[in-house]
Assembly symmetry: D2
Homo-oligomer: 344 residues x 4
């Protein structure tokens, strides 16, 4: 940590900062500059709460060299983490996975038909929402437990692992009975009670980036899950909120290689929610894989024009088929073998 | 609702849209233009799910004339709502209220001392966090139930109503035992299970705007609470996330008069979280009141430099005393009588 | 400047950074920490280009303690600057000024009538656009030189100083013949050739904040004008671009007291462009003055419904009259004397 | 255009809107709804100025079905535009081009050496800044005309067309003498006098997206150039400004396929400025090509650690070599022939 003093701070101000730092149990090293003095803080083994220091006279600002996360950091854990979702491996070096399925489970025929189709096209997992977060209370909120049961049927019939969202800590147990990968939606990325609860289970978690979360906050949210003992976490970039309204969100694809540098966790991309526009899903899915994503989530619906939610961004069966063909060629080009054999 | 067709849409496309709209139970009125055709949708009594329509060939986009909320809208409820917090009235026409207190409850002496001070200065309610949402898991997370008990002691000794945050649906009952006004933090503005649970209690709720929530989403979140039967909701602007990093958030003060136009709900402002900088709190608190806010929340700490969280944005006792004097003068200037007598 | 090394940087990496810093003519002081080493750079008298350092092995990031501006900084120039616009004083301690007038000059009757009205209501200056920046080329672009001449007539008849925009370096001379205060629009805040040209004239400049400019970039843009020798610059907050679309821009009012801390330059606020909505102009104008603004710019039009641009955000004559009455009362409340006598 | 009335608008309000629309020369068609009335405006042949209408009593909002641009729109010009830069074809169906070179021209050796290297690696054009826009006035501002002369030498020696920035309308002639493709930087995207001047020359223009420009504003800016008669414009996405600071900007790659739908103009991507981080340039360059970009601009420097600007985001010679190899393989995979034969 570094404490930067004001231009006009007096020696007594510096002394007072040094004393407080020492009271906090660290060492303080003043570094006089031509225009102002800075004070290095040494000896801390984690994030230091800077409130006390920012209060002192003459202090301009405090710069944190350390980060609010540690377990998810590559700095402290250089080897890539591979997450195992009911036998499907996700992570660096593995063939990228494709998760397909509708935004919401609407009925048995819809979800089973979709499951069989995406399986046939080569998808690795089935997605579908049973608990749906919606902006207003007057729209379809999901089939809830009934939806979970339909997902289980579709999973059995297709042989695909199930990915579905959990919105509340007290539903974690219920959702974990049915899901192979529990999804935390963007609106809940900082629902810390939910994250803690997910840290206590032994099933993998798909953590979506919050609408306006920084990469640092994203990793710190994952840290909540790891800190409780669950290391099976997959991150997911799904677009951030910006001033641009031509797309539903702004897909921040650069975080894929960036997070690969900062963290050992796998990262996937959801081009459907990111763009909100069917015609942009395939180009962005392929771009994500070239950028290094460990997989993509794609919305597919047997009849998008009749979907109860997110129809405009859902691929048709034919569209998904075509995308899977292209992804197959791309994976071969990128040199991914069909199965991932974890070396470490 | 209005459906806008592509430049090159053919008559069959228009016919197909008309048919689908009719199947949905509404009337469809084509409006041919020189460059393209638009189709008006009539007869709906609420928000129409546009997924099916956006799917159809030739459709460019759909424009919603109606909104995802109704109960909170001034359009449908022209009279101002006055919220009663243990006898303190909040809303249009009432004297603006001041809620003071520390970010977090840290101990009995700290919270009682602060309560007595803010009471003496003329504050109307006491705030203090027992459950604290923090970016990373390795920092102070609040005293939890112990904090609620200390708040109760401070409330009794000062005679002030208590405002405190609830983070999880299963804690609503517990927090409601101690709090007179239950706060939903920015990170939980779209924690819909929490909102629904708060809709079922008979205590008022302070709903903070999400970090990147639009005004429409903010009102739709309040709608969740009202839809369950609890109309005692106070909105709170606390700064939004933008590219600017010179302040902690960007205080969006224009929404105060804007929300007064759009809704009948009271709206308060939190200049402490919005700016993150002690020296900006007083100017922004006063600006908020002049802009029409029904009250302000201000962080106060007996010893900000030793605060466990948000020290840099907390006022000292002396600073709060001075602000309250200025607010008193401002209220007299603005013509607010000391007590609000609700007419309706 | 502080250079932060990676966790796993080796001593040779640190040595190589030290050597390069010394080659740049500065002193380098390594500060070993428990997790990583940082290196303080001493002896620089301005902003240091960090490109070379960021290149070196083992370097994580570089933190600049100094800023890209100096002349506009309060750190180096503690006394407030008072700008003199044809006899009207603008700055800290002066009565806040009001600039009124239409978005665009549309004809002699319109501008003269508006000038006489705003003068009668107590405005201090007349604004009106002759050169208009518009998003697309197919809309009204202003009367250009003809507009300047009409402004001159309106200025003579009302006795008000003229504020108008200049868009291009080669028009600075022409606009300076007519204007008492030359405005740089938000889109041109980083039109550096224009800023340099304005630094060479002896007339005051009103610099509007760019749509997505940080406070630091805003001050650095002003620095371009001061660096060429013109210290008569007034800053103007006019709303920034955010994800929120309910208002035209997001008025960032907190920068008013913030810039007062960081800089000695006067700062005004334009609530018309910030909100884009007539009903929000008066509350935000008053909030700006309470927050410490040195003045406000308000759009006024004799007939807003027939205005060629920005009608929806223009006050009517009656609306301006009422606002000026309220501002008069507010100024008395705030203790501003009618005229500013500059002490320094 | 569609005019939406308030819930409580009376018939006289509707009549008054209809009358004004008719006075403007268009037809007005009221569409009564269950909750409010909307009024369709028919017969306009371009963008309608809505100021007068928004002023009228009872009007809630106006929705524009048409756009502020037309010449750049695919709706009115379905065939792809191919831009010819000194013989190098850029546009849909052509092999994507690579523009390589340093951020700034620093000296003859630097620019010639870089030109020969990027040529050898297979680059199609040479980039290099002679006029440099910089945040503050106290840093290197480019070699200006001297830089143009050095670019000309490097162009001759390597045989590569030259791409360089022009910042001011009065420099267009000068820059056009040396450059084969004139670049408009992000800060000048709405410098309308500059755009108009570029519309009058007969050389192609590379228009970079403004830092916070919407896609609509971006296309409208290009419209300024086309409206003056120059149709040889290439758009360039270079990252937008968001709340995220982990990358220099946020690369908005989804606009590549989106703009391909909306416009017939070629679009390139600049991953260097977008990410600001060398390690992210290659993944994002390849992702851009897979997303459909017509080319990429990449910063290359013989010695990035000594670069006068943007060193941290510049590739080394070896890094560029490797990227060009990968791009070559990718182009073959994507099916691009080495040369583009324009069919239309």
């Amino acid at each position: 940590m570094l404490i930067v003093m004001n231009h006009n701070a007096v020696p007594a101000d510096v002394d007072s900062v040094v004393r407080i730092v020492q009271e906090m149990g660290y060492r303080a090293e003043p570094i006089p500059g031509s225009e102002r003095t800075a004070i290095g803080v040494l000896g801390n083994h984690g994030y230091v709460d800077d409130s006390k220091i920012l209060e002192l006279p003459g202090v301009q600002r405090v710069i944190h060299v350390s980060k609010p996360y540690k377990l998810v950091s590559r700095d402290f854990h250089p080897e890539d983490t591979i997450v195992d979702v009911a036998g499907v491996k996700v992570g660096q070096g593995c063939r990228p996975v494709v998760v397909g399925g509708p935004c919401a489970v609407e009925g048995e025929e819809q979800i089973v038909k979709t499951a069989l189709h995406v399986k046939k096209c080569g998808a690795d997992m089935l997605r579908g929402g049973a608990f749906k977060p919606r902006t207003g209370p007057h729209t379809f909120q999901g089939l809830r437990e009934e939806g979970l049961k339909l997902l289980a049927i579709a999973g059995r019939e297709s042989g695909l692992p199930i990915v579905t969202e959990v919105m509340s800590p007290d539903n974690v147990g219920l959702v974990a009975e049915y899901a192979d990968l529990l999804q935390v939606g963007a609106r809940n990325m900082q629902n810390f009670d939910l994250l803690r609860e997910l840290g206590k289970i032994r099933k993998p978690v798909l953590l979506k980036r919050g609408m306006s979360a920084t990469v640092e906050e994203f990793l710190a949210a994952a840290e909540y899950i790891l800190a409780e003992g669950n290391e099976q976490v997959i991150l997911c970039e799904r677009g951030i909120r910006t001033y641009e309204t031509a797309t539903r969100n702004t897909l921040d694809l650069s975080v894929v290689p960036l997070i690969k540098e900062m963290s050992h966790m796998p990262i996937m991309v959801d081009p459907s929610h990111a763009t909100g526009k069917r015609s942009l899903v395939a180009p962005m899915a392929k771009a994500a894989l070239v950028a290094g994503a460990d997989g993509v989530l794609v919305e597919v619906h047997p009849n998008p024009e009749k979907a109860l939610s997110d129809g405009p961004q859902s691929l048709t069966f034919a569209g998904f088929d075509q995308l899977m063909n292209e992804i197959g060629l791309l994976n071969t080009f990128l040199g991914h073998r069909p199965f991932c054999i974890q070396s470490a």
